[in-house]
Symmetry: C2
Subunit: 381 residues, 2 copies
């Protein structure tokens, strides 16, 4: 194998696929990145037990030569060293040569690295996607869909299914839900593809996989992503990128019944002002616990947010709401959950719908009907 | 006690003095910052067993009112909370009120924090500096003096004296030396003050203290620093700032005799190119060890830098030197020490003076005669 390649482009592809490379693994070859040089260009692959990422560098792009293949072939190189070497090479062009014994020479300017590669034949094959379902989505919509839900997945493995995001396809709609059983994030997206009722289906994708995916897509968010779903795998296909993730097995809980449909108090807020007040109040919320703050509606559309820690002191914040309708309310909740929810909503105004001190409450915004956040209160009163 | 103060200025002073506040301490009051409000302004103090920092905010500066003292007084507030609260307060003006019971109310905009303070009477007094020696130095020279030496202090407590920087005053010169016994950094500075031979003296200042000092001075590097030395303390006095450090006790080793005065090989290099080549070669230097690279002079003013790790592979770098004079040399050294030394020298060109494969070598630059770096080779040949 022998080829010349543009350093910047190779470095970018390494940064993408290395997200799938674990630093410790029971399968030694998986600490490597697989390189395949073919007549079409160079492909890099990284894999772990959850995700596999394949990044392709074509021979040419926009009339610029990116790769010059002298002899096709494959090799696996230790990911961390390969990444650091490429990043520090002196010249903008890199020459990579591999001999029969997997000895790999990386040459650039006056620097020459000789490293021991591994046999690419021993690298696991990527899953074959014989798709039952497929659809397309613009990358920016996919990124938003993930960002507005992924923070709410469970960080604990007690109920593994809750570490994933539930995607439900019905008609031409995708509903994404994440919950750690203390709060819930829901986001709807309209798809070009229509799923007839008898074709409706749902999957659960690990939250971590989707977090890695959107990091890669963010540099290239104007692209269109093709998505293929099988029984236990999902494949995201974008320009020069294949991103595979396993799906979580098991039945996702029925979350629809958790979301209250009525409300007794409706408080409309300026998101930024309210968020900053909650953030300050959370400073004195008891450390280690869930940063609980108290929220009380007052006269003249004022809200009072308070927090108290015996050893340190207390904080009282008064925020003017845009409107308060319905019954007075006094409720306690996690400042962190509220901050996460308001950041996800990402509008200048939001409305909180309360149905009582002990009942979950919902946060929505008139500016975007597709997103809903739900938080369970903490019983302190 | 009661005063109004500008948030930005208070926040800056907190960031300065908090550098002396340990998060864990056996003296509970030292997790606090002491606030003194007097008719002149507000002073903040932070202290640990090594350093004490006092930052002063005057009532007025350049015709701008910074502080409005309503009632003088003192209080000690938990440093971390106080710092976070001030940083997040909504308004540019902060009002701080303390009652007889040390209850402190911090008010800004619609936010009000009530925190328990501690009695300022219990806060340790700062050392009284009855100085035997004093002199002045521009802040930027002091910063350079520290930066060009501090990285070479010992990180180990085996020989505590080597964790400090040795300052020797003689005639009108200050010589600063740091060594961890594997490498040495030396920097000379000319002072305005003259120390007659019978007044010559030397001190050892903890490297950590000086690192903290220059972080604070860097925002204000055009100022003049007054320095007062006693038997066991040093005080740096800049505009609105007092910085005290303890001195290290014990005799600093005689380092002058370590520095070779002759040389057998003289290699002049382009600092940047050579540094990058050493950095790359160190990638494959055995992990955990001292990143040893081999340096060999070649024909036609070329230098070869190589590194080898059996499990990973090898690297060969060829760098053109500006000139090679004297005997051929083949020597091994720590890539990290070489990189540190070249970064400290901070000139476009440097000269390495070798006196043999087993002897320490010296790095200097024609562009700045006041700095010298010395590295002990590693025996691998």
């Amino acid at each position: 194998m022998k080829f010349l390649i543009q350093k910047e482009r190779l470095s970018k592809s390494i940064q993408d696929v290395i997200k799938a490379v674990a630093s410790r693994t029971t399968i030694p070859i998986l600490i490597g990145i697989k390189i395949d040089a073919t007549d079409e260009g160079v492909a890099l692959t990284g894999s772990n037990s959850d995700i596999s990422i394949k990044s392709f560098i074509p021979k040419e792009e926009n009339d610029t030569e990116l790769v010059d293949i002298i002899e096709p072939g494959s090799i696996v190189l230790q990911a961390r060293f390969f990444s650091e070497i490429v990043r520090k090479l002196p010249d903008s062009i890199i020459e990579i040569t591999v001999d029969d014994q997997f000895k790999t020479v990386i040459h650039s300017g006056n620097a020459e690295f000789v490293i021991h590669g591994l046999d690419a034949e021993e690298y696991p094959r990527l899953p074959i996607i014989d798709s039952e379902h497929s659809f397309t989505m613009p990358a920016d919509l996919l990124i938003t869909l993930v960002k507005q839900t992924v923070f709410a997945v469970s960080q604990s493995e007690t109920r593994p299914i809750l570490t994933g995001i539930h995607w439900v396809f019905e008609n031409n709609e995708l509903i994404a839900v994440a919950t750690d059983s203390h709060r819930l994030a829901l986001k709807k997206a309209t798809l070009q593809t229509e799923f007839a009722n008898n074709q409706a289906y749902n999957i659960v994708i690990p939250g971590k996989s989707l977090s890695e995916l959107i990091k890669i897509l963010e540099d290239n968010n104007q692209t269109l992503v093709e998505i293929f779903v099988t029984t236990n795998q999902i494949l995201f296909k974008a320009k020069n990128l294949l991103f595979y993730s396993r799906l979580l097995e098991g039945k996702y809980p029925n979350t629809a019944k958790l979301i209250p449909t009525d409300n007794k108090t409706k408080v409309k807020i300026n998101t930024k002002e309210f968020l900053q007040a909650v953030d300050r109040a959370s400073l004195l919320a008891r450390e280690g616990k869930n940063n609980v703050v108290k929220f009380t509606t007052m006269e003249q559309n004022m809200i009072e947010i308070t927090s108290y820690t015996p050893e340190i002191g207390k904080v009282v914040e008064k925020v003017k709401s845009l409107s308060i309708e319905g019954e007075k309310i006094k409720i306690s909740f996690s400042a962190k959950y509220m901050i996460d929810a308001l950041r996800a909503i990402d509008g200048s105004e939001a409305t909180i719908y309360f149905t009582g001190t002990m009942r979950p409450f919902v946060i929505k915004t008139d500016q975007d009907e597709t997103i809903l956040q739900l938080i369970l209160p903490v019983r302190t009163f």
